[in-house]
Amino acid sequence: MRLGEEIRKVEEGQIRRFIADNFMIGRNPTALSGDASFLDNGIIDSLGVLELVSFIEGSYGIEVKDEELIPENLDSINNLLRYIEKKLSL
């Protein structure tokens, strides 16, 4: 299943809300571009990654494998969306 544009927007909103509520307290979440690295922008650290992983495992019912714990999958809104989409389509 490929996520349609509408669904994708909902997903993006959900992920943005999670990031904003948990990692961007006191910062402006709307300023975060889809491709901005969480790490380079000081949004997420190692604990944040663990929290992010339990969030996507819990929200989307997917299992994040060890090998998938890499920035290419998790380090920006767009990387996350692509990763979740890929996992759901498997």
Binding site: I25, G26, R27, L39, D40, G42, I44, D45, S46, L47, G48, V49, L50, K65, D66, E67, E68, L69, I70, P71, L74, D75
Partner: protein, 505 residues
């Protein structure tokens, strides 16, 4: 010997060897040596003099490493600041240290500029990666300068670094370390770990943390390779790095190992290149030691103890780990450590007292903080010698192995770093509608201790936990921001009005 000689010597013996790997960037000893020579000339051209302090406000990067050695080669004193520091604290440190030059990048420039405004002492800001009004571009300046080594004017009892650390007062204290202090510590550590030039050491710890900084110094001392990472965020990226770079040495703190052990299938990866793992900052939980032993049966695991004021005190020989897993061992080579009671008398096995350290690694004091210095350093047996009173309570067993018991003060240890409750309390008092606050550390499986703030707000106040956290995030380094905030109606106090933090735990 000076600290910069580590690089100069290694560049002489292994010029073409890769010294530094940082992301995609790889630099040989010769390249690091020449770049740091050029930057040293830049600093000298900009008017720095022997003993001037120069601050580095960068994340882990080749530029940070080059800066450290260039500052030393210019006969100056380097200060590495936490890259998530906010302008308020940065201002305090710039003011206290009197730093003449601040080296930063575009991402941090606004914070740096704000911190340095109205400070006459900061004469130049250099940025590593761009152009902005009010700063000089590092590359442009370096291109104009010679790659030859400037004449050294330091001797080994001159200061090499100030390392800022948290204290009970909440005011950052600059630990004064001479070249001799740092060379002694690096020599002792590489000796007991048995480091060789074939070692490849991976470092995820910030260079502002002495444990991270020394990985670079020790690697350069022995002509090994340092793989410098910005952080330990994506665990599988770490595994890949260890495999692709054939890492032999992996220094960490309990938080890093706790995260690594969360991987579902850690045992299946080939990490056989790892010759040793080191842990310090706080004790590893027993269960984690056991799992690390299972996963890395051929890797030597070192439990160690130290504090910035002398870098390292003790280590447990790996072969003792199964027999006394909670011990941090005995004093490292060329260092003496013993326990004293309240009357300053040495105590025997089983008795709890304060750990005292004697050695060439003991700091010269806190920069421009006489009172705080006198609390930590007291006269030793010989005229002019100082003993370090660690403020940490220890006991030893019958065979002289040391065990950490507690701290004498209420400093929190989170992610292996010291966190001053007072510093956080001072910030939270800046939130309007906060009447009182007390900050403590609460046990946390991954962090060791997590920062928790108890807040009493004014009657009718609409403050939320998030408001407090948001304010802290704007004013404190990331690792100091409370994980938990709890509102309570009043703080428990003694008859003299002192907050009874024990009752909050």
């Amino acid at each position: 010997m000076l600290v910069c000689d580590f690089l100069i010597q290694s560049a002489k013996f292994h010029p073409q060897k890769t010294a530094l790997v940082c992301g995609e960037k790889r630099m040989t000893y010769q390249e690091v040596d020449r770049a740091s020579n050029s930057l040293a000339h830049v600093l000298l051209q900009n008017g720095v003099e022997r003993g001037d302090r120069i601050a580095i406000f960068l994340e882990n990067s080749s530029e940070a490493v080059i800066s450290i050695f260039s500052i030393l080669k210019a006969s100056c004193v380097f200060i590495v600041l936490n890259s998530s520091m906010k302008s308020g604290k940065l201002n305090l440190i710039l003011k206290n240290s009197g730093a003449k030059v601040l080296i930063t990048d575009m991402k941090r420039f606004a914070v740096a500029k704000k911190a340095a405004t109205h400070l006459k002492s900061v004469q130049r800001i250099i940025v590593t990666d761009g152009y902005v009004k009010g700063a000089l571009n590092m590359n442009d300046l370096m291109e104009r300068e010679s790659e030859s080594l400037p004449a050294s004017r330091c001797i080994d009892i001159d200061l090499a670094a100030l390392i800022y650390t948290s204290g009970t007062t909440g005011i950052p204290k600059g630990v004064m370390l001479t070249h001799l202090n740092m060379v002694s510590a690096a020599t002792s550590i590489t000796q007991y770990i048995g480091n060789k030039s074939s070692d490849v050491i991976v470092n995820f710890l910030p260079l502002s943390f002495d444990y991270g900084l020394y990985q670079v110094l020790m690697a350069f001392r022995i002509g090994a390779r340092i793989v410098l990472e910005k952080s330990f965020a994506y665990p599988y990226a770490v595994i890949s790095k260890i495999q692709s770079e054939k890492v032999t040495g992996f220094p960490g703190v309990p938080t890093i190992f706790a995260i690594l052990l969360q991987l579902k299938d850690l045992g299946k990866y080939d990490l056989s290149s790892l010759r040793y793992i080191t842990n310090t900052g706080a004790a590893l939980p027993l269960s984690h030691i056991q799992r690390l032993r299972e996963i890395f049966p051929h890797t030597r695991i070192y439990s160690m103890y130290g504090l910035t004021e002398c870098k390292r005190v003790s280590y447990l020989p790996p072969e003792e780990l199964d027999r006394r897993p909670t011990s941090v061992g005995k004093a490292m080579p060329n260092v003496e450590a013993y326990i004293v009671n309240g009357e300053d008398e040495r105590v025997g096995p089983g008795e709890v007292g304060e750990l005292v350290v004697r050695g060439a690694n003991v700091m010269k004091g806190y920069w421009r903080l006489e009172k705080e210095t006198k609390e930590m350093l007291r006269p030793g047996p010989f005229f002019g010698e100082s003993l370090l009173y660690t403020g940490d309570l220890f006991r030893m067993d019958e065979e002289g192995y040391l065990y950490f018991v507690a701290r004498k003060d209420d400093i929190i240890k989170s992610r292996g770093e010291k966190v001053s409750p007072r510093e956080i309390e001072n910030v939270i008092y800046g939130v309007s509608q906060v009447r009182e606050v007390a900050v403590i550390g609460v046990p946390d499986e991954i962090l060791g201790e997590a920062v928790k703030a108890f807040v009493v707000k004014n009657d009718g106040s609409t403050l939320t936990e998030k408001d407090i956290m948001a304010y802290c995030a704007k004013n404190l380094e990331d690792f100091m921001v409370p994980r938990f905030v709890e509102f309570i109606s009043s703080l428990p106090k003694t008859s003299t009005g002192k907050v009874k933090k024990d009752e909050l735990r």
